[in-house]
Amino acid sequence: MNFERLNAHFPWITLVVLFLLVGLANPAFFNPVGLLALAGDVVPLFIMALGMTFAIYIGGIDLSVQQVANLVTVVATVFLVKLGIGVALVCILAGALVGALSGLVTTKFYVPSFVSTLAMGFVVLSGAKWLSNQRALHMNAEAREASFGWMFDTTLGLPNELIIAVLLLALCWFLQTRTTFGRALKAVGAGELAAVASGINVDRIKIMAFALCGALAAISGLMFSVKLSGGDANLANGFLLLAIVAVLVGGTPLTGGVGGVLNTAVGTLIVMVIRAAMVFLEVDATHQQMIFGIVLIVAIALTIDRSKLKIVK
């Protein structure tokens, strides 16, 4: 079998191997109830990574997602009582708007997305701090239960938040593989100049990709806020790097055009298994982050597809 053909399958093989290794070391890991709980915990991260996939798929990056999620936790907490479940719409629109603005700055002013989204993140952070008065806010418990209590129920034995994640994944997968928008995304990521030459409105596609990324970051922030029952301008800090890691480990390279949302699902699960492994293998809390980093390097070194990288920058 051709080694290059095998390359695309490395992420899920890594996942299965890791999964089995952890389970063999401690069979308690295979307990379905525990696994469902683990998967539930990782849902906000997954949704953020799902959005990040689109930014990276077109060869860009979005560093503002963490701040968008922060802002949304504040917006959701402040306006929940007044707007009820309608607050979700406000949050998603706000996220899409921020993403679209980043895309606009990137395409119209020729600012690389690394910088434009970093800057947009700073602007959004200001908004979150202003709206929250720089305090940690608590959600009104009754309104939370009335509007979002259903998120913690189960349908057919599956937690609803997990179902939301699967539905969003299905939607994104449909967008990526079954629509002209998805095709255009791939074209932009694989070769922007060729995409321009073949008549694709690249600027519009990019802006839409960043808007989608922002909207998904907002959903992620909203779910996180409901889960923790509060909002704070720093609540989602720490999500950004993990979301990028989930996308990259899943096999969507920074150069774009390859990989996609299913890869990100696998990548998020790899991150989840590595983190859970530390608990199940009783790794000391102070050792965990270092081991996470080392496992990450090994996983990336084993799985990234280098066939399309002429120069490793």
Partner: protein
């Protein structure tokens, strides 16, 4: 005169202009504030912002970040990126603090060895970062991202979450003793800046950074050992991060796992605002000095004129975009990622 106003020189000096405009703008707000309260105020002369005391304050806040930003400057000139600085700063700071205490706890003893040791630790982590990037052929973004986790994790492993106090009065004189109104750490930072400027302009390694960033295939074709330059670049960056760690400990007298926190975005922002482009090949250490000053002048100026602190990051964000727009020659690039 014509040459002075050409587009090229305008692009080159845009960051300096932004800094000057900022430094002249904050005193205007100060004056308006005072006049509105019925106090007399002579523009620039009565400014609290444009005072030596305040400049010292800005310099103290900026010094550790400048060290870190200098390191990442070289990486960005090569067209790569480094996201591992927070971990490296923490590990160097913590190893310095432990070694310093173990060797006697005062600069007047063998404990001074802890300082070169911290630089060696920084160099080692940087070199490891470079090796992972070059030898395992992992893009620097991913390699350094993962190394950042390893670094922060290692710092946590060393401290177990504890804070390590370094309260030797001689070491703390970095902050407490002032020459001409500025604490010693500012002169140390200045000397290090000059050293890095020397590396950039007067050494083969410095020129090779630009060769790699300007066109890697060309550099390799003309016989340059690109892998070696990359590994050396990351090692040098590690030394800079360790220097940042030392000054950070000198500033607050405490080394802990979070000593390195927040350096990543601040340093990359400063480098970019200073006019060093992310695609490599242009910019340099003095651009970074201007960039760091812009970031910290904004932070300080907003406080001085009494604006609520939550606006700071928005202004910084807007300026980042402005600075990049000003310093981009749009005719020369066909698209950006």
């Amino acid at each position: 005169m014509k040459a002075l106003l050409s587009r090229d020189s305008l692009l080159k000096w845009a960051p300096v202009l932004v800094l000057l405009v900022l430094m002249l703008t904050f005193p205007i707000f100060e004056m308006l504030n005072d006049l509105a309260r019925g106090k007399e105020h002579l523009y620039l002369l009565d400014s609290r912002f444009l005072s030596v005391r305040n400049f010292a304050r800005i310099a103290i806040a900026a010094a550790p970040a400048l060290m870190v930003a200098l390191g990442v400057t070289f990486i960005i000139i090569m067209g790569s990126i480094d996201l591992s600085m927070e971990g490296t700063v923490s590990v160097s700071a913590v190893s310095f603090a432990y070694a310093f205490i173990a060797l006697g706890g005062t600069l007047a003893s063998w404990a001074w060895l802890a300082m070169p040791l911290a630089l060696v630790v920084g160099a080692a982590i940087g070199m490891l970062n470079g090796l992972v990037h070059v030898k395992l052929k992992i893009p620097s973004f991913m390699a350094s991202l993962a190394m950042g986790f390893v670094g922060t994790g290692f710092a946590l492993l060393l401290t177990g979450g504890e804070r390590v106090r370094v309260d030797d009065p001689i070491f703390r004189s970095l902050l407490t003793v002032r020459w001409f109104n500025f604490p010693i750490m500012i002169y140390v930072a200045g000397a290090f800046l000059l050293l890095m400027w020397f590396v950039q302009t007067r050494t083969t390694l410095g020129r090779n950074f630009y060769a790699v960033g300007g066109g890697e295939e060309l550099a390799a074709a003309s016989g340059l050992n690109v892998s070696r330059v990359r590994i050396l670049g990351f090692t040098l960056a590690g030394v800079c991060y360790a220097m940042g760690g030392l000054l950070a400990v000198g500033k607050i007298g405490i080394a802990e796992t979070v000593t390195g926190a927040n350096f990543m975005f601040v340093s990359i922002t400063a480098v970019v605002v200073g006019g060093t482009a992310l695609w490599g090949g242009i910019g340099g250490v003095f651009n970074t000095l201007i960039g760091v000053l812009i970031v910290f002048v904004i932070n300080n100026g907003m406080v001085v004129i009494g604006l609520p602190s939550y606006i700071q990051s928005a202004v910084l964000g807007a300026l980042v975009i402005l600075a990049v727009v000003l310093s981009t020659d749009r005719k020369a690039i066909s698209f950006v990622k």
